[in-house]
Structures are given as structure tokens and as C-alpha cells.
């Protein structure tokens, strides 16, 4: 077998799997930098996935993307109302939001498509090859011949970095996350910032759900996010709350998943489940400080 084709395919698969994770993790980075940990991310991705399916079926794939972002933001607004507005415990509120999203999406999906679910085909986002760049051997197809969400994720990364670390808004946001009381004393409207950061994070999670349906899987299934929202939270930790770091973290999870596919395709009798554990264990190691120093925003979760 041609090794170069195999490696290029493997890398392309890794990036495809990593895209929704990167999108969700980018949003969660903004949210967590403001001091809010959003465990409802899983539910927001799921809501985004269903909204993308319904929107794309009715009006085409890009409407699906818009609906998904809207659904994620709406659910995040509910979360913010409870966790920021009423100061309910963030962890438990997030768990409840995810639970509600699982119930709602399952019910709406069955109502819309019947008990069988139907292997319906929906209009998807196809790959867009960037002229020139996609011709680069091995790396080209992986990075420059992907559906639009991958490019959105790659563009969002420097943009989020710039806003967080080079603007007054970013400074106020980080100050809110490090010490809300002090930030408030300095004139920052902390509750507004936290609410905004949460809703934007929810929009990213919705987009991630859309990417999962429209650019990766091609159809909706109940509970299809299968823990990816929680994985995104792990990636934020692994990437040390930094846009560049989380890109590497997302890629790591993508590689682990793609490796599992590859091993199964090659028919090798390896316990692929053990590969799936690796990124989680690595994240734990990162938390323990073994992979460089990790420090969470001081007011995270408070």
C-alpha cells in the first residue's frame, strides 16, 4: 500500500474528527477565561446537531449552520440565566442542561422523523480544496481540502487569541475570570461579561454540533455527540486555556480516534479501546502538572 496516501488519509481523518472538538473547545476557552465552567456544552452541541439537521433539511446546509449556532446560544442563555444570573452551582446546572438537551433533542427528533428515525439524507457541507495549498504533499489534503467548518475553526483560533490577549475587552474578560470581585471594583461589568462569554461559547458549541452532522457524519442520531462536549472541556484543560494549546489538544484526540479507525480498517487485532483512553489519561497527567504547568482561571466555577 502507498504509505504517503495512507498517512495523508490518516491525517485528514484526524483533522476531520478534531474539527468539532476544536470549535467547541475554542468557545469553552472564552467561557472559562471569564470564570464560568459550562458542563452544558455536551447538550449545546447536541442541540446544535439537531438544529443543523432540521435547518439543512428545510433550507440547505448553511441555514443549518445558522440554526445550530442559534440553538447553542439559546441553550447557553438559559444556562447563563441560572448559573450567572441566579448564581446556581455551575457544575450541576450544566449537567441539568445537558440532561434536558438529551431529552428535548430525542423527543423532537422522533416527532419530526418518526420512531424509525429514517436514514434520511440531508444536504451536507462538502470539502473545499484551496487551490495551491491543497497540493502540498501529505499535509495539504489534511489542512486545505476540508469542509468549511475546519477553516472556520482555524480562523477562529488566532481571532480568539487576539481578542483575549490583545484587546481591552479580553483584558476585562480575563480579569473577571481571575478575580471577579476585584474586576467589579475596577468597574468591569462582570455578570454581563460572563453572560456574554457563556452565550458566545454556546454559539461555538452549536457550530461544533453542525460540523459534526454536516461535515463529518452526514446524519443525526439520538445522543450522537457521545461525550464530545465533555471531551472539549478536557481539551481546554489540556490546552491550558490557550487557543494554540487547545488546537494541539483537539488534534491529539482526533489522532487517537483516527488511529482507532485505521487499526480497524487494517484488520489488526489490537485493543483499540485502549487508544481511546489515552487522551483522557494524558489530560489527567496534564492536570497533575506533568506536561507543563497548568493553572486554571482563579475564579473558575465561582
Amino acid at each position: 500500500m502507498d504509505t504517503e496516501v495512507l498517512v495523508a488519509g490518516f491525517l485528514a481523518a484526524s483533522v476531520r474528527v478534531a474539527t468539532p472538538l476544536l470549535l467547541a473547545a475554542t468557545g469553552e476557552t472564552i467561557t472559562e477565561r471569564s470564570g464560568v465552567i459550562n458542563l452544558g456544552l455536551e447538550g449545546m452541541m447536541l442541540a446544535g446537531a439537531l438544529a443543523a439537521t432540521l435547518g439543512a433539511t428545510a433550507w440547505g446546509p448553511w441555514s443549518g449552520v445558522t440554526c445550530a449556532i442559534g440553538a447553542g446560544m439559546l441553550l447557553a442563555a438559559v444556562f447563563a440565566l441560572l448559573a450567572v444570573g441566579a448564581r446556581a452551582d455551575q457544575i450541576i446546572t450544566g449537567t441539568a442542561i445537558t440532561l434536558a438537551a438529551v431529552g428535548l433533542t430525542g423527543t423532537i427528533y422522533r416527532q419530526a422523523y418518526g420512531a424509525g428515525g429514517a436514514g434520511l439524507s440531508i444536504p451536507t457541507l462538502t470539502s473545499i480544496a484551496i487551490p495551491g495549498l491543497s497540493q502540498i504533499p501529505v499535509l495539504g489534503p489534511a489542512l486545505f481540502d476540508q469542509p468549511a467548518p475546519t477553516y472556520l475553526a482555524l480562523l477562529a483560533m488566532p481571532l480568539v487569541w487576539w481578542v483575549l490577549f490583545r484587546t481591552r475587552l479580553g483584558l476585562a474578560l480575563r480579569a473577571t475570570g481571575e478575580g471577579a470581585v476585584m474586576a467589579r471594583a475596577a468597574g468591569v461589568r462582570t455578570n454581563l461579561i460572563r453572560t456574554g462569554a457563556t452565550v458566545i461559547g454556546g454559539g461555538f458549541a452549536g457550530l461544533a454540533g453542525a460540523s459534526l452532522v454536516l461535515a463529518q457524519v452526514g446524519s443525526f442520531a439520538e445522543g450522537m455527540t457521545a461525550g464530545r462536549g465533555y471531551v472539549a472541556i478536557a481539551i481546554v484543560v489540556l490546552g491550558r486555556w490557550h487557543p494554540g494549546g487547545i488546537a494541539l489538544g483537539a488534534l491529539l484526540f482526533g489522532v487517537a480516534t483516527a488511529l482507532q479507525f485505521l487499526l480497524q480498517t487494517l484488520g489488526l487485532d489490537t485493543p483499540y479501546q485502549l487508544f481511546l483512553m489515552l487522551p483522557y489519561l494524558l489530560t489527567l497527567l496534564a492536570l497533575a502538572g506533568a506536561v507543563g504547568r497548568v493553572r486554571a482561571p482563579a475564579d473558575l466555577g465561582r
Partner: protein
């Protein structure tokens, strides 16, 4: 009494949301809720074979989580600890043929408890040694546990014929005895006894007092009570993991008799709702566990009889969690719900 009022309000609101939502979505909500009731409480068999069988793991996990939450430790990893217990219980159950029943069941449950304890020991160690918050570490280990189960049922623990991803059935001796003519097993007795023991520990022992002191305010407990709050929190997490592990063992020993993927329909997460609705009080947790068992049992009937997706009850669970949570929120957000409620309902206590 106030706590009970909130709990009743939470459940009522949850069911009301379900009713309105189903009507809005075009389902026959009356038939749906009727089927839910019949599936959960409609007959003695429905109550014992469906409701109580599902209530047992929920009560056990809810009790475990309430120990952790009381000690100020947020254990989100009960799902993983449940599976760790289930794996160990299956392994033990396969090797216990020929032993007398009580010995076999005891050994199986001990294995499950130890496994659950070990599964949470890593987050505890990471917390004590490196200050890693347990929310993230316990959550991450859920996914490791899921992969481990998947590995086990396709690897070391797979049935001899190697067709399905599941284990062989455990030895007869290691199975929990049945209580009535139904599918209800002795795990219920264990869950109720666990509730009583915890009630005694919480209400009548120094340990229970320390646990609460640490949960209420670790700094205050350290300064004024000379309590080692780190240690108390760590103990609470370990105990909560062991109890969740036992829940996994009981499920294998009393219901499934074998290990397979999706053994738990999210009991570890529903257990959080059970603990909160029960107000972290053991008796409350038992009642909340039965209630949620009824919801899950009724959900199946609702799907069969009225064509309403069973997952719809998750919305009820979510509303219950949120209302139970809002009953205990601190002040300081832009909506001070608690202050509003206090002013309206009990103006005299507004200052407290």
C-alpha cells in the same frame, strides 16, 4: 419542612413542563402521563419489577453522591465508579461457582466496593497531591471506564463463544436472592440499610458533623473546629466511590448477571438529581430514588403505550435538578431568587 416543599414543587413543575411540552409537540399528553403512571405504579408487579428494580442503583448512587456533596466534594464520576464496580463484580462472579451463596455474594460486593474505591482514589490523590479539581478528574475517568468496559467485553471477559460483546453469566451462587415473585432482588434491602446507616452517621456521629462543617465552609471548619478539611473531603470522595461501585455490583448480581456496554442508562448522572432532590438527606435520597425509578420505569411504558419517546423524562429530571438547585442558591447574581422568595413568603426572615 421547607426542603420538602421545594422538592414537591420541583417534581410538580417538572411534570407540568413535560405535560405542556408534549401537548405543544402534538403528542397526547394525557395518555402519555397516564401510561407513565400505570407503568410505574399501576400494579404490584409494575411497582416491584420496574420501579423498585430501577430505584435500587439510583438510591445507592444517590447516597454515595450525597456523602461527597456533604463533604464539599463534587463527584461527577459515579458513572465510571459504577462501571468499575460492575467489571470487578463480573470478574468475581465468574470465579465464585461452588461457594455458598452468602460468601459468594459478599465477595462479589466487596470486589465491587474496592473497585469503585480504587476508581475514585486517583482523583483523590490528584487532588491532595496536585490540587486538581475533582470535577474534571472524576468526569474524565467516566470515559476511561466506558472504554474499559468496551475492552473487557470484547477481550478478557468476553463470553466463550466470542459472538456478542458481553460476558458469560456469573455463577448462580453469586446472584442476589429474589424478594417476591417479581424481578425485585435483595439489593433493595441493601439500599435501604445503606440509607439507615448513613442517616445514623450523618445525624449522630462526630464524623457526620465534621463532614457537614467541611461542606459548609472548609476554612471555617479548619480555623474554628481544627478539622483537617482536605482529609474529610478525601474520605467523603472515597466512600462515595465505594458506594457507587457497590451499585454496579448490585446491578450485575441482581439484574443483568453479566457485563455489557450500556449496562447503565446514565445512573451516575441521574444519581446527582436523586441526591439533590433528596436534599442530601438519606431518607430523602431513598424517596427521591424511588421517584426517579418510577419516572424511568414509567418512561418505558409511555413509549410503548403512547408512542412518546422515553427520553422525554430527562426533561423532567433536568427541571427537578434546577428547581432543587435554585432552592439553595447564594446571593449575588443579577437575579436574587432566594431573596425575592424570602421577602414574599417570609418577610420576617429576610435578614437571615
Amino acid at each position: 419542612m421547607r426542603a420538602i416543599g421545594w422538592a414537591v414543587a420541583a417534581v410538580a413543575l417538572g411534570l407540568a413542563v413535560l405535560f405542556v411540552g408534549l401537548e405543544a409537540a402534538g403528542f397526547d399528553a394525557v395518555a402519555g402521563l397516564g401510561a407513565l403512571w400505570m407503568g410505574a405504579f399501576g400494579s404490584w408487579d409494575a411497582f416491584t419489577s420496574s420501579t423498585l428494580v430501577r430505584a435500587v442503583p439510583l438510591i445507592l448512587i444517590g447516597l454515595g453522591i450525597s456523602v461527597a456533596f456533604r463533604g464539599g466534594a463534587l463527584n461527577i464520576g459515579a458513572e465510571g465508579q459504577f462501571y468499575a464496580g460492575a467489571i470487578a463484580a463480573t470478574w468475581a462472579g465468574l470465579h465464585l461457582a461452588g461457594q455458598p451463596g452468602p460468601v459468594a455474594v459478599g465477595a462479589l460486593l466487596l470486589a465491587a466496593a474496592v473497585a469503585g474505591l480504587c476508581w475514585v482514589a486517583l482523583p483523590v490523590w490528584l487532588k491532595l497531591r496536585f490540587g486538581v479539581i475533582e470535577v474534571i478528574s472524576t468526569l474524565l475517568l467516566n470515559f476511561v471506564a466506558l472504554s474499559l468496559v468496551s475492552f473487557m467485553v470484547q477481550g478478557p471477559l468476553q463470553e466463550r463463544s466470542r459472538i456478542y460483546p458481553q460476558s458469560e453469566a456469573i455463577a448462580e451462587a453469586a446472584r442476589l436472592p429474589m424478594l417476591t415473585g417479581s424481578r425485585l432482588h435483595a439489593g433493595l434491602v441493601l439500599a435501604l440499610a445503606g440509607g439507615l446507616v448513613l442517616w445514623f452517621l450523618f445525624a449522630r456521629t462526630l464524623w457526620g458533623f465534621r463532614l457537614r462543617a467541611v461542606g459548609m465552609g472548609p476554612r471555617a471548619a479548619e480555623v474554628s473546629g481544627r478539622i483537617d478539611s482536605q482529609r474529610v473531603s478525601a474520605m467523603a470522595l472515597l466512600i462515595s466511590g465505594a458506594i457507587a461501585g457497590v451499585a454496579g455490583g448490585v446491578e450485575v448480581s441482581g439484574v443483568s448477571y453479566a457485563l455489557f456496554q450500556n449496562l447503565s442508562p446514565g445512573y451516575g448522572f441521574t444519581g446527582i438529581a436523586v441526591a439533590l432532590l433528596g436534599g442530601l438527606h438519606p431518607i430523602g435520597v431513598v424517596i427521591a430514588g424511588i421517584l426517579f425509578g418510577a419516572l424511568e420505569a414509567g418512561a418505558g411504558a409511555m413509549q410503548r403505550e403512547a408512542g412518546i419517546p422515553a427520553v422525554a423524562v430527562y426533561v423532567v429530571e433536568a427541571v427537578v435538578i434546577i428547581v432543587a438547585l435554585l432552592a439553595t442558591v447564594p446571593r449575588g447574581g443579577w437575579i436574587s431568587l432566594r431573596a425575592v422568595v424570602r421577602k414574599r413568603i417570609a418577610p420576617g426572615k429576610a435578614a437571615g
